[in-house]
């Protein structure tokens, strides 16, 4: 047995010559690139793509801060990317190696987080919005285009215990701040208190704070409304459809506005194959490859060339591709300074304890 196991392993190694020295190390979100895309890339570059995963930006930053290294590419959200840039953790891009950069919609370029895109190339985006059980919500006559459904007791009492919100200080506060008419980056303590009061008032009606389990719970019918990410809602809707449920999962962006999370590809300083990394970035900027992100994972796509490959019903989905006016009401989170982080954390602890 042992001998045979050893044998197969060496056989495998013999079958893939050179690939061990040609490895691209990607530090990516869970489920943020399809296996088909990976296979296509590995074929085109005669190399191997190795991935490590994180499920939120803080986790990624915490791992890097604790000394994780050797990653060529990371895909952080704008505010985390801002932190990485200011830490000096990133390598500037060589744009001569990225001819496909022209495919990106200019409204996603030159953000305040990375003026001139010295370090980053947009990958995909998600919107934090509301997912819901369409039949149930219609039956109860509840609105789906406003945050009121997760904050106002007059709506919540009809769906008590069937609602979850994101277990993220920034995301939940952003939703509450938007509902109150403030910017998601408003750092005025008085407005924070107002938002916290709103959350505490609504909290008894919520089942839980949830960052991932709402996907499954929506798709099985246990939950009727969830605050979550657009690509997760895409997943939940797909799951409900595939398992032949008697209901459908819908999702929409509240009229008050919401959080737009633009994820970008950046080169980490500790990476050992910058050439391969540029090759990957340019590959992902190709319309067809970028379109996979939308067709298979439900991500919003900043790539104009990709749109011709995107399935028409997804392209028409306003929750994934917002209209111009809706886009104007979306905001990207900015990082807080250390004092604000501590205060927000205390407010969050208070919210959780009440």
């Amino acid at each position: 047995m042992l001998f045979m196991a050893g044998c197969t392993r060496s056989d495998e190694r013999a079958a893939i010559p050179n690939k061990d020295r040609n490895v691209l190390h990607l530090f990516n979100w869970n489920n943020y690139i399809s296996t088909e895309t990976i296979r296509r890339f590995e074929k085109s570059c005669d190399c191997r793509l190795s991935q490590d995963y994180y499920s939120d930006n803080e986790e990624m930053l915490a791992k890097l801060a604790a000394g994780a290294s050797g990653y060529d590419l990371i895909v952080p959200t704008s505010n985390a990317m801002d932190t990485l840039i200011r830490q000096g953790a990133l390598k500037p891009l060589d744009k001569s190696l990225l001819p496909n950069l022209k495919n990106i919609d200019p409204s996603y370029l030159d953000t305040p987080f990375d003026p001139g895109n010295k370090y980053s190339v947009p990958y995909a985006y998600t919107i934090s919005l509301l997912g819901f059980n369409q039949e149930k919500i219609k039956e109860l006559g509840l609105p789906t285009d406003t945050w009121a459904i997760i904050f106002e007791p007059r709506y919540l009492e009809k769906i008590k215990g069937r609602v979850t919100v994101l277990d993220s200080q920034r995301e939940l506060m952003a939703a509450a701040l938007k509902y109150l008419g403030y910017s998601i980056n408003d750092a005025d303590e008085k407005h924070w208190k107002e938002a916290a009061d709103l959350i505490v008032r609504a909290k008894p009606y919520w089942a839980a704070f949830s960052n991932t389990s709402y996907i499954k719970e929506l798709a099985t019918g246990n939950l009727w409304v969830a605050h979550g990410y657009s690509n997760d809602m895409f997943q939940a809707a797909l799951d409900a459809k595939k398992t032949g449920r008697s209901f459908t999962i819908g999702y929409s962006t509240p009229n008050e506005g919401a959080v737009l999370a633009l994820d970008s590809m950046v080169l980490h300083r500790s990476g050992k194959s910058p050439d391969l990394a540029h090759q990957f970035v340019n590959f992902m900027l190709e319309g067809k490859n970028s379109a996979d992100l939308t067709n298979l994972l439900g991500s919003g796509n900043p790539n104009t060339e990709a749109m011709q490959y995107v399935q028409p019903e997804i392209a028409a989905n306003k929750a994934i591709f917002p209209s111009r006016e809706s886009l104007a009401r979306l905001e990207m989170l900015r990082d807080l300074d250390r004092k604000q982080r501590r205060l927000l954390s205390r407010l969050w602890t208070e919210i959780k304890l009440r």
């Binding site: 986790e59 932190t83 200011r86 099985t220 982080r341 501590r342 927000l344 602890t349």
Partner: protein, 303 residues
């Protein structure tokens, strides 16, 4: 005993005791010292820590050491409240584990010798599958569509009591905690009870003690060391547990473990997280000291 034997004994003791001692020194004392230092630093602007020495020309304006994290801890009753809540949760879990584990341990200890090892094996069998998977399984068992929930609600419905939700509640957290830690209570109790001399109970019976008296005056006092070590093995891990409330808890079930985890991930505030950990360690040590002090006169009488 000759001098040579003595030296040999010392060398042997060093060889046997040295490695674990060095292990603890490196992996317990070292990190604890780092944590104490960290708790007195400023958090870095982007997470991590601000430098100790004054930076030449950077955004980091604060540097060096500060008791700020502790001041922040004591500036609000909030944190004391969470400590109290977590201690209450740990105490409740320990108590329930004790109530459930004691009869089981007695049963195993008094069963036939050839079955005992098998029964002990059954107690630790859940460890064969990953802890998180077992907790996720409770999500299904307690979920609103589960057979258990529907059964309970059907019975409650007969009495006209509205449906209850089991999942995402303090009850679910308590169930998860008890479930995970029960074997840690059973094992020390069993090892203790197994050593009891049955002759003592027979003698008591001959002298006219009834079942209750035999338990309360003989078995229970003799089993106290097992009760204490089992309780410590349950109480302390429950205090630091964050996964169970994260998965099974509702909107209000935050414990210290969650708070500390939040400081290192969500908030990126290492000094405050370290300060919280140190306060927790101190609290646990004082509880342990109190327990030893309370237990002392009783064991003194026994001995």
């Amino acid at each position: 005993m000759s001098k040579g034997d003595l030296r040999e004994g010392r060398v042997a003791r060093l060889l046997v005791g040295g490695p674990p001692f060095i292990f603890l020194l490196i992996f317990f004392v070292g990190p604890s010292l780092i944590m104490i230092l960290t708790s007195f630093r400023f958090p870095g602007e982007f997470g991590g820590l601000a430098p100790i020495a004054a930076p030449a020309a950077s955004a980091e304006s604060e540097h060096g050491f500060t008791p700020e994290a502790y001041q922040f801890f004591f500036s609000d009753l909030l944190y004391g409240e969470i400590f109290f809540k977590s201690f209450a949760m740990a105490a409740a879990t320990t108590f329930i584990c004790l109530i459930l584990a004691y009869p089981l341990a007695v049963l195993i200890a008094r069963s036939e010798k050839r079955f005992r090892n098998l029964l002990v094996l059954l107690v630790v069998l859940p460890f064969a599958s990953n802890f998180l998977i077992r907790i996720y399984a409770w999500m299904i068992i307690l979920g609103p569509e589960s057979a258990l929930s529907q059964f309970i609600n059907a019975i409650l419905g007969v009495f006209g009591i509205g449906p209850v939700t089991l999942l995402f509640s303090p009850f679910a957290v308590l169930v998860g905690m008890v479930y995970v830690h029960l074997p840690f209570m059973v094992l020390p109790l069993y090892t203790n009870l197994e050593k009891h001399d049955p002759a003592l109970l027979n003698a008591a019976q001959d002298l006219g003690a009834n079942g209750w008296q035999r338990f309360w005056q003989i078995t229970w006092p003799l089993s106290l060391p097992g009760v204490f070590s089992g309780s410590a093995l349950v109480f302390i891990p429950v205090l630091g547990m964050f996964a169970v409330p994260d998965i099974l808890g509702g909107t209000g079930d935050i414990l210290i473990g969650n708070l500390i985890k939040d400081q290192f991930l969500g908030t990126r505030d290492w000094p405050f997280g370290s300060a919280l950990s140190i306060m927790l360690t101190l609290a646990v040590l004082s509880v342990a000291a109190l327990a030893t002090w309370l237990a002392r006169p009783a064991t003194g009488q026994q001995g």
